[in-house]
Symmetry: C2
Subunit: 412 residues, 2 copies
């Protein structure tokens, strides 16, 4: 018997909810079984290309006849498509029908609204990216201007991919700040952002539901999705801003008020100005210090690699500032892994060994440290993942009267 | 369709495991359905007293005949007992048979091995306590002596309740220190405790599986079980030692190395000697300061209530020390609730308002603060709950060849 089944019953038995004796009702509901069989067929086809009915029956344990009934019903609903028989099938008499999951039945959007850029990623139901779009914005842009840019970028990305707005099933927006469960933002970074509820401003996809989540949290989710398998992980967004996202028991933990990982508020952590202090280190004639602070920081890291004394001292100090926030988070959560992401992750060669030494000196159980392998699209990818999760939950709902309406079948 | 079913499918669909497309296999397995029906009947009876077959059928949605078959099978296995018909049943012809869940089919043990006391609680499968036993030990006892005392206490508690050792299905032991997933303890409190694996030393219940868990973690679990419903909670064990246990998303979070909540390791937190500093505050002639440090601390709290200046300053300082550990945990986890438990919880009137002020000054989202409503049996109760959870999972296993063998039916 599989672990999954065991856990299901543990769950139904109230194991998670600590209610003794809350066993499931009897599984005698025929419509429930029919729905389970539908989900089973969807599962056999999703992510597995086109398969003949016999393979669907084998994979699901259904009889050939049941598999046929279920497959036809899902086809009528727009979830499955019949494909052309392949060439080698034609050699042996009548070709076997093949069915595939219609990943183009719906789309999801991941959106990263940052200080200087807005990124849009659109993917189909197989998580295949069909459109990716980025626009530059100014740090001084008003909230209205920033949201208008985002809406426009989304509109263009949809147009480029030829996707109708009504076929977008979920949008997740990542941005800086603490985002309360009611969607309200508190942010010191973006002008006019505090008190804003940006969910209603994306007219490009109305009336699709929009979720707003803190950017470091989404980057953590992206790392868990396409990077690391650690069950308990602290993701550090390290750049001109410092932030953290938590994965606990394999899931994103945002906290009861959306403020999990806000360790920068700790007095004396130095997180507020650690990056600016680093970037301001004089490693060249003052009039050569670039206005772009990320670039200034990059020069300091490079100078440290070349053993420039002031740069080395600045990197040591930056690592110590970082550790002052990371150490209490590690002592609280005890993760297997701490991932260094964000724009400074290119300096992991300097930062990881220093952090390792600092953590080993204070932590009971020192986690592994590693640089993120993702680029600066981590927030948008995390947003995409969360949007997909929402849709997956709705697809897998036992309520077969799903509110999701697959996009019209455009030929087989 | 219920939330539970939705979550089950979310789970099977790989929502938790972030694997897209991992749908469940078809629910065509007849033995699986039979087992689901058994669990459904167990659920209808467990915690609900004796019920006639017709009520079992109604509650489960099974036909009368199916309910009868399943009930008889569970009766043969020792999970159910037929009870005497009630008096008023007899007035109307032949009395209806009634069935009840045999909560006496097995037992679980919660054990708290502390510095000065060992507490044993034994409960049946309905979580009804059938035996509770406490013995005093010395802080200087060797590990061997302490474990021998625990073994003896457990033996006596079993004998008092007339329970055969083979009918104990799970034991959880709570004790101080960081307990690694392999069971190894690291503790500075108890002599000889570091490096110990105490699981094999409880001969009174051999060969029953024994789990070892940190005491603050278990107290957190007890608070969640019989106190607070918060999904995200930090439990503070506040006494002559300071510790913390975390409930995250409704579940106990022990961390990847069993070291979650070990914020006392944070340099400058002052958690190591905060309690002793408080207890050592001179509030009476020096020769009247009691050797019992808990009692000495109680006197300082009492003096503070009577506005003794040195005592008030000591309590302020203690609250500040406490906050230096609590603040980073709150910033990391963002819980709804912080519970003040442990032997100093009687001073919640002094500590909670001070902590509230200190947290409100630094936290993004200030949690609710409250005193624990449990006594000093919290660790033993948390241990009992964890042991029950283990057994519940095994009872609810879809594998009907359960390794649990109900105690012999002793008459109806």
């Amino acid at each position: 018997m599989s672990h999954r089944h065991d856990s299901y019953l543990g769950y139904l038995n109230g194991y998670d909810a600590d209610v003794t004796g809350a066993f499931p009702r009897a599984a005698t509901d025929q419509s429930l079984l029919r729905r389970l069989n539908e989900l089973s067929v969807l599962g056999a086809l999703r992510g597995n290309g086109a398969r003949p009915l016999r393979e669907v029956a084998d994979a699901t344990g259904l009889s050939w006849r049941s598999a046929q009934v279920v497959t036809e019903k899902l086809g009528e609903q727009g979830w499955l498509a019949e494909t052309e028989a392949e060439a080698d099938d034609k050699r042996i008499g009548r070709p076997a029908r093949r069915y595939r999951f219609r990943s183009e039945a719906g789309y999801v959007v991941g959106l990263d609204i940052g200080q200087r850029k807005i990124r849009v990623i659109i993917a189909d139901l197989d998580a295949t990216v069909v459109s990716s779009h980025q626009v530059e914005v100014s740090a001084e842009d008003s909230a209205d201007a920033r949201l208008e840019s985002a809406d426009q970028a989304l509109r263009e990305a949809l147009a480029t991919a030829g996707i109708q707005p009504q076929n977008v099933w979920a949008v997740t927006m990542g941005t800086s700040g603490v985002i309360a469960p009611d969607g309200t933002i508190t942010s010191v970074l973006l002008p006019g952002w505090t008190g804003l509820d940006p969910r209603t401003r994306l007219t490009a996809v109305a009336p699709c539901p929009v979720t707003v989540v803190n950017d470091a949290n989404l980057a953590a989710l992206a790392e868990r999705w396409r990077g690391r398998s650690a069950e308990n992980m602290i993701y550090l967004l390290v750049g001109m801003r410092l932030g953290a996202g938590l994965i606990i028991s394999g899931k994103l933990h945002t906290g009861s008020g959306g403020a999990a990982g806000e360790i920068g508020m700790l007095q004396g952590s130095g997180w507020n100005d650690a990056s600016e202090r680093l970037a301001a280190t004089p490693v060249a004639p003052v009039n050569e210090s670039p206005e772009d602070r990320d670039l200034a920081a990059t020069r300091v890291f490079q100078a440290a690699r070349e053993s420039h004394p002031a740069a080395l001292a600045a990197v040591d100090r930056f690592a110590a500032d970082l550790a002052r926030g990371v150490t209490p988070m590690v002592l609280t959560v005890d993760p297997e892994l701490v991932v260094l992401g964000g724009s400074f992750s290119h300096a992991a060669d300097l930062l990881v060994p220093r952090l390792e030494t600092l953590l080993a000196g204070t932590c009971v159980h020192t986690p592994q440290l590693a640089a993120s392998e993702r680029g600066d699209d981590a927030v948008a990818y995390g947003a995409l993942r969360l949007a997909l999760d929402t849709v997956d939950q709705r697809i897998a709902s036992l309520d077969s009267a799903s509110p999701l309406i697959p996009a019209a079948v455009r030929g087989h």
